[in-house]
Symmetry: C2
Subunit: 91 residues, 2 copies
Amino acid sequence: MSRSNTVFIGRKPVLNYVLACMTLFKSGTEEVLVKARGRAISRAVDVVEVLRNRFMPDMKVGDIKIGTEELTSEESNSPTNISTIEIKLHR
Amino acid sequence: MSRSNTVFIGRKPVLNYVLACMTLFKSGTEEVLVKARGRAISRAVDVVEVLRNRFMPDMKVGDIKIGTEELTSEESNSPTNISTIEIKLHR
């Protein structure tokens, strides 16, 4: 899937990301990938649930994958692991 | 699945829940269900990733389900929605 169908969840309010997903679907995209890392994982689930319950009741939640990414910061020499989630959405 | 195969993720350190899962598997359980709500969802993913990467490399992550639960608190009359996650683990 091309990167342009992906919504990365950060620290903004949930509805910002809900709107981003809806905009992608409205533009004709059949599949949207919601991605998040670390603490934003909970918000990613919120985004999908709000989208499905309030705005797009017909939307289907496809594969949900979890994983780990290694982060190397400039401050500490040792890399830290961070959990990730990817949620596929189909309209 | 009986409730006794379920590990509910709360606010304790990740390793507490990792240990809880390992104890269930060591006791002969084939399948463990990791459940969390709200902000603990990120920690649930951490638990599974630490378990898989550090302690049980052969463990398989099965179905991951997300959903919404309605919470009614005594303080406010209106119910609030909270996101949930369920992650199935097989050894």
